[in-house]
Every structure is written in C-alpha cells, then in structure tokens.
Symmetry: C2
Subunit: 346 residues, 2 copies
DNA sequence: GTGAAAGCGCTAACAT
DNA sequence: ATGTTAGCGCTTTCAC
C-alpha cells in the first residue's frame, strides 16, 4: 500500500524497488519476451505494489510511436455517428490501438482545429467523416505520414483511403424506387445545414433520378438543428399544408421520417396507398412502429469496422486499391428496405 | 509548399526558417505574450509555410502538463451517453482542454483497463460514469493527483467530486407518483444487465417507495442487450400476457417505454385510464408521439456541463463541498414530467 | 538475459 | 524581448 506520493512514480522507482535495471523493467512492462521469468515476476510484483502507471508521453517521445487513432465526426446527436464510433472502438479493441474522438459540428474550420490538435499527438492513424475538408486540413493529413481513412462518403476525391457509400447513388436509388412504385408528386424534407454534404448529395441524387423520369421535387421543407420525431411531425404537416396533393414524401433521415409516419398514421392517412414515405439510414427505431418506414441503409457499422481495420493494417483488401498508392477505396452498396411505407414494386 | 518530407518537422526547422531561436518560436506557438509583434509574425509565417504541427508529446513531457481530459462512459448505444459527451465537449470548448472518450461496456474490469490507458497519458482530469469501480481503479484515481468527477449517480461514496442525481430517489419519486395517481397493480420492465447500477438503484427506489404504501411490483420483465422501441413492444406484450390486470407499467428507460406506449395505443388501450405508463431519462423522442410518455429527467446535459466545469476549474460551487477536501458534491433534482400517460394527480 | 549511454522534441528556469 | 542550458521519463542502440 504505497502512501500518497505527490511526485508520480517513474520507471526508476520500480527499478529501485525491484533491484532490476530501468531498462529491464521497461522490457517487462512492455511485454517483451527477452526477460527471464524470475526477473519478470519481481518487476511485476514491484510495479503492482507501487501502483505504477507507465508514462506514455515519455514512451511516445522516445519510441516515436503512439497507439492513438484520431476519429473526427460531425456530431454526437445524430445517432448514426455514435454507432460508427462504437464500431470503430469494437474493432480496435484487440489491436493495442486506442481511438480518440473529436467533434467537428459540421464545420470544416472546426474540423481543421480538431485535426490540428489530434495530429499534434502524432497518432498512428486518422479517421474522419466525409471528403470535404479545408485545404490546410488536406495538407496536414497528406504530410502526417500516417494512414488516413475518410468514411461515410465516396462521392469525391479521397486523400488516402476511402470507405463509404455513394450518397448520390442512394438518392437515385430512392428516386427509382418511388417512381417504380408509381408515385409522381414527390416532396422532400431535410436539413438546412449547408455543410451536411452527404444529405446534400442524397438530395442531388434524388433530383437527378427523378429528372431521368421526367419528374421533379414539387415541394421542399427544410429545418435547422438536430433531427427529432417532433421535427418530422411539424415538417410533414407543413409540407402538406403547402402542397396538399403530394403522393410521396422523401425524408433526409429516418428520425424525421418516423416522426412524419406517426403523424400521418394518427391522422388516418392510408400509407402507402395515399402517401408513400422513405427515409434514410436504416435506423433501428423503424422496427418500433406499426408500419416500418422504407429506408436505405447507410452501412455505418460496416464502415466503422472496415475503417478501423485499415488503420490497424488488418484489412484484407475487399476491393483493389484504386486511389493513392496504398490507399484503399471501399464502396459499400446500400440496400433499400421497402418496409411498409411504399407500394409494392419490382 | 514544402515538399513531402519523411522526417516530421520540429521546432528547430521553424527556428532555422525564421532565424529566431527555438525558445522564442516555442513562445510564439504557445501564444505567450512576451514576444515582439515583428518576431511573432516572422515565426508564424515560417510555421505556416512549412506546415509545422507542434509535437505535444514532447511538449507534455517537458512541461509535465497535458490538456487532455479522460471521459469514460459505459456505452454509446444508449443515447444518454452521447448527450453527456456532447455536453462535456461543448463546455470544454474554450478552456484549452480536450476530451478523450473511452467506453467501459458496463464492465468495471474494462473500465479499469481503459482508465489505466488514459492515466498513462497523464491527463488533466478524469470524468467517469457511476460510483462503482474496481479497487485498483479507485487506487489509481486516488493516486493520479488530478481532479476526478464521477457523474450520473450520487448514491454512494465518491472518490473526489460527484455530480448527478439519486436514482434511488428517482425510483421513489416514480412510486409516489403512480400511487398518487391511483395505480395499484404495478409492473416493471427493465434491463437484465447486472452492472447497470443506476437502473438497479432506480428499481430499488421504486420497490422501497411502493413498499411504503403497502404495495409491491407484481410482475417484472427483463431483457438483455440494447434498448429499442421494438424491445419495449415485445416486453409490454409479454408482461401483460403474464399478468393481464396490471394497471401501471414502469419502464427502466424511455426508449422501451415509448415502444410500449406505441404498442398499447395501436391496440386501443385507454391510456392513462386503463393503464398508466412511466419511463426514465426525459428523452426527446417522447415529444414525437401523440401521447407524451411520463418520465423523470436524468439531467444529463446539466451533469456533463458541471462535470466539465469542475475539471476546468470554473465551477462556481453551486453546492458546498461535502465529500473529500476540494471535492464537490452536486446533487441535481430530477423533475417528473407527468406527460399524458399518468392520470392527473397532485 | 541484462545493463549503460544517448537522446526523442520540447519547455522551465534562468540568463542577458 | 530573446537566448542558453538542462532536463522531462522513457526507449533505442549497443555492449556485455
């Protein structure tokens, strides 16, 4: 039971307590094999007795290696990102690597600041959401000399590795589906956030897909701030007030989509016949409502897992590298689950 | 445009490029005032031109100070924790401190490991959920010599500072409310997770509160894994199959509570007259359903904010210290929102 | 298998 | 306002 020391313990303390050189103590504590069992035991006993916690700052400086992986996502309020983080944390579990999370709030400038902070810790890798970054961010990442994985989106140029889905393709997929299901008067409900590039690309894909069928989005409802069921209710009411004869509502995410669905069901609207609905993300919450909202899966756990594998160097190239030398480019194929809110279609 | 260097840049590079000593470069980069404007400009220009990113590992070793705050929560799937993390991140924003998140998966052993990793970076503070830790964890925290804030729960002994609510009191509050509203045949639906101590304490409080009125929980339904609307639906069906004459269902959290509410409403059950419902957490999702689930607010944003303030040393003691010397003990008072799922009561 | 010396890239403490 | 010196606590490298 070591008493309350003010000065933190050092290797030297363990060395003196065990009568073994600092160097050998260091070897034991790092789990190197080249130490005799007897010495190892004495060292471990001393370290435990003292309550020694190694100083990774000193270790990192000396070895020029740090077991940290920086991960930057736009937000934690959008359930999607905690799920990606959880997947990354799970996958990194037994690699000796530790994730460090940062939040950019959908701002490229803030992302740059967070990135700068992270790089100043010389991490072993960086994972960040999206392909849109400031020039300085790109420059820093390029010079950092560590693996960089941009996740969630593949519509654009990557810096090193890229893992995600095409949000434009997802938008087109939704367009094709609602048209195939016979809907013609389509409304869109989504975020106003100008820096949610993935939401923007989905809308672009939707519009392009509809245009290919000679159709267009007839009404749009935008909101600011976080997504919630309540927002979805209000917006659904608003878009139908503005344009009552819509026969299909495309939501930029499942949270507002389910909100809209609940509101419409309460009002006795016949879904999917009178009005069709589609969301995005494949959130679990959809399973909690009588009718399951149609949605496109964003593959977020998969994305997190693969990104972590790439950083950990244990990714068995599912796809051949196509970008930078050494960089992977993994394009996942989202699935559209028609649920119960779209008329049957091929 | 510096070319692709393999060796990372050092202060010395900036020093040479700007013709200013390393020490002064260091001062400029740390924003110390004691440098002439001219020199400052030259240094900043050189650093920018080179794309220099300081090495905090070296800096931390030299200064013996690190601007990191370790935060350990049980999970990211339970929406509550991302919210706490977001609140901490927000509050730390302009303090120069950076949060680093770890996940314990409701396991004290895993928490111990994560804590060990974190402490080895010599952070400026530690925030962790709950009061239940391994002996080694407590010993490490006590010896770390940095502020420690245990959050979310106040039912027990703290190590240093404690910020949270009493989950036992919350349970009793719920008991009093449902009894006051005239319910007598009460069922409980909650997690099986033996290490979710806060859920356990809420149940204990509920039972104690009911006992004080000569009542008891008549039926219980447990589940494993994450909470979801779908789980709430199933469990509600199950508990009513098992014990059809319950007149009140107490859910251990709002997610399963709202699931149960939706299921009951679909079946035309008259809420709150036929059956009363209460959840816990005060989740936003409640506002998205026709009837608002009664719930007790867990004060999670407030808790995150205050914990961060304590670490940052800018907490204006809302309550007098009561525990360890220097340690705060902030007990927040949760509010019960009766919503639309309990009969009116005083 | 173990130890001694050198130094990782910065900053504290003191000059000047 | 700026520079010099001496480490911070570890690991690398090389001896033994």
């Amino acid at each position: 039971m070591a008493s309350k020391t003010r000065r933190p313990l050092t290797l030297r303390d363990v060395s003196e307590a065990s009568g073994v050189s600092e160097m050998t103590v260091s070897r034991v504590l790092r789990g190197r094999e080249e130490v005799s069992p007897g010495t190892r035991e004495r060292v471990l006993a001393a370290a435990r007795a003292l309550g020694y916690v190694p100083n990774k700052i000193a270790g990192g400086l000396a070895s020029q290696r740090v077991n940290l992986v920086g991960v930057i996502v736009p937000s934690l309020s959008n359930l999607v990102f905690p799920e990606v983080l959880a997947a990354i944390a799970d996958e990194l579990e037994d690699t000796g690597l530790q994730p460090v999370f940062g939040i950019s709030r959908y701002s490229a400038e803030r992302e740059e600041n967070v990135l700068y902070e992270m790089l100043s810790w010389r991490p072993s890798g960086i994972i960040l959401a999206g392909l849109e970054h400031t020039d300085l961010s790109r420059a820093m990442l390029a010079k950092a000399g560590v693996p960089v994985v941009e996740i969630m989106d593949v519509d654009g140029e990557g810096i090193d590795s890229v893992v995600g889905i095409s949000h434009r393709a997802a938008g087109r997929m939704i367009a094709d589906a609602v048209v195939a299901a016979g809907y013609r008067r389509i409304g869109f409900l989504g975020t106003k956030m100008p820096d949610d590039h993935r939401a923007r690309k989905r809308l672009e894909g939707l519009q392009a897909g509809l245009a290919a069928h000679g159709l267009a989005v007839l009404a749009t409802e935008h909101y600011e701030g976080g997504s919630s069921l309540a927002k979805g209710r209000e917006m659904t009411q608003a878009i139908l007030a503005q344009c009552p004869d819509l026969d299909c509502l495309v939501y930029s995410n499942d949270m507002i989509g389910v909100g809209g669905l609940l509101w419409l069901m309460e009002r006795g609207v016949d879904i999917p016949n009178e009005i069709g609905l589609v969301g995005f993300n494949g959130l679990e919450i959809r399973a909690g409502v009588q009718k399951r909202l149609a949605s496109v899966d964003a593959c977020r756990r998969e994305i997190g897992r693969i990104a972590a594998q790439i950083i950990a160097g244990k990714h068995s190239a599912l796809a051949a590298p196509q970008t930078t030398v050494g960089g992977h480019r993994i394009v996942l194929e989202p699935r559209l689950d028609p649920g119960d809110t779209l008329r049957p279609f091929v």
